[in-house]
């Protein structure tokens, strides 16, 4: 009985949180504003609710004959943007990384040699 009550409470909570996005039928999914929003800002800044909605829009759009290329481009753009920002280390971060490598070298190589 307790499990039944808990299930109902969870169901009510989930449906109040996600009802609009989870169960509503998406009209014209390929023209949904979320696609242009994601294209502009990427998926990272979105909330969980929006991410779920975007996944639904993507699925509905592909089912309606939309091009997968559009969504692949969105992801690729985001990967490339993050890659561009993080491909080189800036300021003190490279020194910090060298310190970690030295610490690991000291532990695994020199420490092991000292034990032997």
């Amino acid at each position: 009985m307790t499990y039944f009550r808990i299930t109902i409470v969870i169901f009510v909570l989930m449906s109040s949180l996600f009802a609009e996005h989870m169960f509503s039928k998406i009209q014209n999914p390929c023209d949904d504003p979320i696609i242009s929003k994601v294209r502009k800002n990427g998926m990272v800044p979105m909330s969980l609710k929006e991410r779920i909605y975007f996944i639904r829009v993507k699925r509905a759009c592909l089912n309606a004959g939309g091009s997968e290329e559009v969504f692949a481009q969105i992801e690729l753009k985001e990967y490339n943007r993050d890659f561009g920002k993080a491909r080189e280390m800036s300021s003190w971060t490279s020194t910090f990384s060298y310190s970690v490598i030295v610490a690991l070298f000291y532990y695994f190589v020199l420490g092991h040699m000292a034990d032997v």
């Binding site: 909330s47 280390m89 970690v100």
Partner: protein
């Protein structure tokens, strides 16, 4: 002069505002598992404790949260915990349920760079605030006897207990880890790390309800560690 100061303030204001717009604060959570190989002779040398198995010796559960505070750097909190539980086989006692945890709570600084659009290398240094906890779920009447038997194993005299309690020990340490992360989605990644932990643990620094007591011997001073995590970017 006043005009110049105002200009500097305005310029600084615009610079900070643009930095806060351009910068991307990224908050991420992680869950995962770790592997290590401690020697817990405080338990293994005595057959009263639950039998040592992979899950209660070598496996660590992990969760954490990270915040990207600089271009290639994150700061956060990450906790690795080893769990053990079972019946304490104490002759003369009530065979209470024994529960033991060893937590390695880390406050890492992690720097990283992307080798390829989907592949990241990361470098972590972190202090450790370790804590171990031993708890006995005894029958109320047998509480004192059960604790006396357990503490006697480690060479303690009888301890007067007001109620059921748990014995705890804290220590400090540090860890260095090297990791590789593969992004399945721009906000979802799989992270594999390896590194070491150095813990300054002492079996003489246990406490139970305000009493300083002797605890089990753990050989956890120099340990290699491997971890696998799923990282989810929230924002």
């Amino acid at each position: 002069m006043k005009h110049q100061i105002k200009s500097y303030i305005l310029f600084a204001g615009i610079f900070l505002a643009s930095a806060s717009v351009m910068a991307q604060p990224k908050l991420a959570i992680e869950i995962g598992a770790g592997l290590y190989e401690p020697v817990l002779s405080g338990f293994d040398d005595n057959n009263q404790f639950p039998v040592a198995k992979f899950w209660n010796r070598n496996l660590l559960t992990n969760y954490g949260i990270y915040y990207q505070f600089f271009y290639n750097a994150r700061i956060g909190y990450s906790s690795y915990t080893s769990w053990a539980g079972g019946e304490l086989n104490n002759e003369g006692g009530s065979r209470p349920i024994f529960f033991r945890s060893i937590s390695y709570r880390m406050f890492p600084i992690e720097t990283y760079f992307r080798y390829k659009p989907k592949i990241e290398f990361n470098f972590t240094l972190t202090p450790i605030w370790g804590r171990s906890k031993i708890q006995l779920n005894t029958r109320l009447n047998d509480s004192g006897d059960d604790w006396d038997i357990l503490l006697g194993i480690y060479g303690n005299n009888s301890v007067d207990l007001a109620t059921m309690g748990s014995m705890k020990s804290d220590w400090l340490g540090y860890s260095g880890q090297l990791g590789i992360r593969y992004y399945i989605k721009p906000y979802l990644g799989l992270d594999f790390k390896f590194g070491f932990m150095n813990n300054y643990y002492s079996e003489k620094k246990w406490r139970l309800q305000g009493n300083k007591i002797l605890g089990p011997v753990y050989e956890i001073s120099k340990l290699p560690i491997f971890a696998f995590k799923i990282v989810y970017g929230l924002k």
